[in-house]
C-alpha cells in the first residue's frame, strides 16, 4: 500500500471526520476523502474500507473526541442551570453563518442518514447520552431551586429543541427566528 512517509492514520481519520462534519455525509465524495486523508486512492480501501466504513469510524471518532467538549460540562457532577444556559447559547452559534457547523452525529441523524447499522447504533447511543447529560444538569438545577419543571420532561424537551435548531438552520429558517425559538426554549426551562 502506498503510504507517504509522514502518513499518520489518526491525523487522516481526524481530517476525514472534519470533512464529513463540514460537507455532510451525502456531499462528501471519495475524491474529497482521498484528498483530505492523503492516502492514495489505491490504498484507501485497504486502510479505511469504503466510504460508509470510513464514515462509521469517523462517527465513532467524533463521539470520542468532539462530543465530550459539548456534553462534558452538562455531565459534570455539579452541572446546573449555568451549564444549560451556556449549551443553549452555543446552539445559537451553530448557524450556517457562524463559526460552528452543528453536530456531525445530530446532522446525520436528523437528515435521516444512517448508511450502516453501526452508524445507527452510534446515533442511538448518542441520543441516550445527550438526554442523560441534560437530565443530570436539570435535576441539579431543580435541586438547587433554579427550575421548577420536571427534569425528565425537560430533558425530552431539550432533545427536541436541539433537533429543531439543527433542522431549522438546515431548512434555511432565518437566524433571528431560530434565536427566538432558542430564547423561548430557555424561558421554558427556567419557568
Amino acid at each position: 500500500m502506498a503510504r507517504p512517509r509522514s502518513y499518520d492514520p489518526t491525523v487522516a481519520l481526524d481530517r476525514a471526520m472534519h470533512l464529513f462534519w463540514e460537507k455532510g455525509y451525502a456531499d462528501t465524495s471519495m475524491a474529497d476523502l482521498v484528498g483530505a486523508t492523503g492516502v492514495s486512492r489505491y490504498g484507501f480501501y485497504s486502510e479505511f474500507g469504503d466510504k460508509d466504513a470510513l464514515f462509521e469510524k469517523c462517527v465513532a471518532h467524533y463521539a470520542q473526541t468532539v462530543i465530550p467538549r459539548g456534553l462534558g460540562p452538562l455531565e459534570a457532577p455539579d452541572a446546573g442551570l449555568p451549564e444549560i444556559d451556556a449549551y443553549l447559547a452555543g446552539l445559537g452559534r451553530s448557524a450556517p453563518s457562524g463559526t460552528r457547523k452543528g453536530c456531525l452525529i445530530g446532522n446525520t441523524a436528523t437528515a435521516g442518514l444512517t448508511p450502516t447499522a453501526g452508524v445507527a447504533d452510534q446515533v442511538g447511543r448518542h441520543y441516550e447520552r445527550m438526554r442523560a447529560a441534560y437530565r443530570n444538569a436539570l435535576a441539579n438545577a431543580a435541586d438547587a431551586g433554579d427550575i421548577t419543571g420536571d427534569p425528565d420532561a425537560l430533558a425530552d424537551f431539550l432533545v427536541g429543541v436541539v433537533n429543531g435548531c439543527l433542522a431549522s438552520f438546515r431548512a434555511g429558517v432565518p437566524e433571528t427566528s431560530v434565536q427566538a425559538f432558542l430564547e423561548q426554549a430557555r424561558r421554558t426551562v427556567t419557568a
Copy 2:
C-alpha cells in the same frame, strides 16, 4: 410519446407526489417514478423532465393540495387556541409508526434537500406561510385571553417545534420522548 389511453397527467403528478412524500426525495428512484406515474420511461422526460424537475412540480402540487388541509384551520379568521392544539396533536401522529409521514416540504427542508432553486424558493415561501398561520391563531388566542405570551415569539417557537418534531422522528428518537417534547411545547404556548 407513449401514453396509455387512460393516462391522466394530474393523477400521474399526484401519484409521483405521494411517492416522494412516502419514500423521500433521495430514496425515490426513476424506476419508482416510472412505475407510479404509468408513463413509459421514454415518455417520462418529455412529460416531466428529469427527477428534479418532477420533484419541483410535486412540491408545488403538495403546497396547493395538501398544505391547505394542515394550515387552513390556523389561517381561518377565527382560528385560536383550539386550532393550535389540534395542529400539535396532529404533529404527534406524524411518527413513523403512525398513519402520517410528516410533511413533504418540511421533510425536504429539514433534511437539507433543495435540489433546484425552484424547490428552495418554495421551501422559503412555505416557512413564511407556516409562521404567518401560527401567528394568526396565536394573535387571536392572545386577544381572547387564552395565552399571555407574545404571538411573534411564539410563532418562531412553533416553527422550531415543528422542525424538531420532524427531525426527531427521523433521527429515531423514541416516540414517548417526542410526545413529551410536544406536550412541553403546548404548555409553553399556553403559559
